[in-house]
């Protein structure tokens, strides 16, 4: 085996600007995708739980399709398929010094739409896990449904879903590599490009793996810290959490790359 240590160290500790740009894109795409996923997830969860059969079925359908098909297929479909059918076209978007290429937009949208389905299920589980007694007490006090949701159920559900959502973001970080297929120069595509000039696949991909390991580990530590902070804000950390939360094993809840 040949392992080019100097090259490896170079790539690990002094990567070129292109790679750093890739790192930035990985983070940008992941965070934006997650934000869209969160924004979609809550209304879809509410639709799924709503008494209107149309809303509930629409939400079910969305979740089924998003979770039943591969993300890679969704990415290509959204970027190229929709445009091919003349439905949506992604044009570069400029605002002063900032600009967002069309394929980056499409990648973020695809990741976000996919994530939305998983978020919806997490939110649904969280809302369902809030003790029914809480809702009933709120209703009995004369609160209208939206107020019950906003003031009583959601604040408690949010605590429950924090951990699963946090775990899901690790998956998002890893999934962001898939947008390389539509030419978004995130870390993987940059690495591939560098590789096409240097052919140091082993060293380059080792370094890339370490970068991802660092990202996911940092996030995991951050998540634990956030969790502890939130618990510390309560008198009784254990009791303050609805029981439902205990069912969400942090290990099982993250089950896939």
């Amino acid at each position: 085996m040949h392992f080019d240590w100097p090259y490896f160290w170079q790539q690990l500790f002094h990567p070129g600007d292109a790679f750093l740009l890739g790192l930035w894109l990985t983070i940008l795409v992941s965070v934006s995708g997650q934000a869209i996923g969160l924004a979609i997830g809550l209304p879809v969860a509410l639709a799924r739980l709503s008494r209107s059969p149309i809303l509930a079925w629409a939400a079910r359908g969305y979740i089924l399709v998003m979770r039943g098909t591969p993300l890679l297929v969704q990415i290509v479909f959204i970027y190229t398929g929709l445009a091919a059918a003349d439905l949506v076209r992604f044009h570069d978007w400029h605002a002063g010094p900032f600009s967002l290429a069309g394929n980056v937009q499409a990648g973020i949208l695809a990741l976000g739409l996919n994530e939305g389905a998983y978020m919806a299920e997490i939110f649904r589980a969280g809302i369902t896990a809030v003790d029914r007694g809480q809702t009933e007490a709120a209703k009995a006090l004369g609160m209208p449904p939206m107020m019950v949701l906003r003031r009583i159920v959601l604040p408690q559900a949010l605590r429950i879903v924090l951990l699963p959502i946090g775990n899901q973001f690790n998956i998002m970080l890893k999934n962001s590599t898939l947008v390389s297929i539509i030419g978004v120069s995130e870390m993987l595509l940059v690495t591939e490009t560098i590789n096409s000039a240097t052919f140091r696949t082993f060293e380059l991909y080792s370094a890339l793996g370490l970068y991802f390991l660092a990202l996911t580990s940092i996030w995991t530590l951050l998540l634990r810290w956030i969790e502890r902070r939130m618990d510390a804000g309560r008198d009784h950390p254990g009791a303050a959490r609805a029981e439902g939360a205990a069912g969400v094993d942090p290990v099982l809840s993250e089950v896939s790359p």
Binding site: D131, G133, Q134, E136, A137, A138, K139, A140, L141, G142, M143, P144, P145, M147, R151, I152, P155, Q156, R159, R234, D235, H236, A239, A240, A242
Partner: protein, 259 residues
């Protein structure tokens, strides 16, 4: 003392409640006057909880009608038919009814003061200072003046239940419904909650109380109502119901409870 019709706080007529194929309430007629304390007893599954929930429209009813303060709750007339009201309208009607649950149901993410003030502020639109002022008075009344900043999880069951009573009172309800308010409590804490309820009764609060505490019923109730399989089988002053029960189910029930 004669009371006019306006003094009837709860008027239920021919109430039927079905869960699927099972009839749980079977033609309930019950009227509760202002200031009256009614204790509801009955064996497990006889429909006591369901009746209280129907009064607050936490359950729909399939037949009959229920009025609180002279107005139907949960339903409105549309032509000759009764249809379920809009949720916001139901919510408004529910303010007249205070409900205390067996399992307290304090809002877990709020401290005691917020638990008590949230409904007055958000539902009744009371200014915060005013709501907090009143909440502190209520906390003093239930014997917990120093607990306002504490979260429910760090209170004992008895303390939680007293906060729950204060929370319901903060909405100035016309009637308070209690569903076995002491049966989830350790024996040491039952007394403190019953004491608060005694105080309420003494202040003239209209109350419907489901309880197995026969001592409380004997002392505080103006009337004891016995439910069996969704029907009212006996109703009268505590001395009469406990002393000379007429219905065989009442006798069996009292035998079991007083044992």
């Amino acid at each position: 003392m004669t009371r006019g019709m306006t003094d009837v706080v709860i008027a239920a007529e021919g109430v039927e409640k079905w869960f699927g194929p099972r009839k749980i309430l079977d033609g309930i007629d019950l009227s509760v006057r202002r200031g009256e304390v009614v204790v509801l007893i009955g064996s497990s599954g006889s429909g006591k909880t369901t009746l209280l929930r129907c009064i607050d429209h936490l359950e729909t009813i399939e037949a009959g009608r229920i009025e609180v303060n002279g107005q139907p709750i949960g339903y409105r007339a549309r032509g000759h038919r009764w249809v379920e009201d809009r949720e916001t309208a139901i919510a408004r009607r529910r303010r007249d009814v205070g409900m205390v649950f067996q399992r307290f149901n304090l809002f877990a993410h709020m401290n005691v003061l917020d638990n008590i003030t949230i409904a007055p502020i958000r539902v009744r639109g009371v200014p915060r200072v005013e709501a907090e002022f009143e909440a502190r008075a209520l906390l003093a009344r239930v014997g917990l003046p120093e607990k306002e900043a504490v979260f429910p999880a760090s209170l004992s069951g008895g303390q939680q239940q007293r906060v729950a009573i204060a929370r319901a009172l903060a909405m100035h309800p016309a009637v308070m419904l209690f569903d076995e308010p002491t049966s989830a409590l350790d024996p040491e804490m039952v007394g403190e909650v019953l004491a608060v309820m005694r105080g309420l009764a003494a202040d003239g609060m209209t109350m419907v109380v489901v309880t197995h505490e026969m001592g409380f019923a004997r002392q505080v109730a103006h009337r004891v109502v016995v439910l069996d399989a969704g029907r009212i089988v006996e109703s009268g002053p505590p001395d009469q119901v406990f002393g000379a029960p007429r219905h065989p189910r009442t006798r069996a029930l009292l035998g079991a409870v007083l044992h």
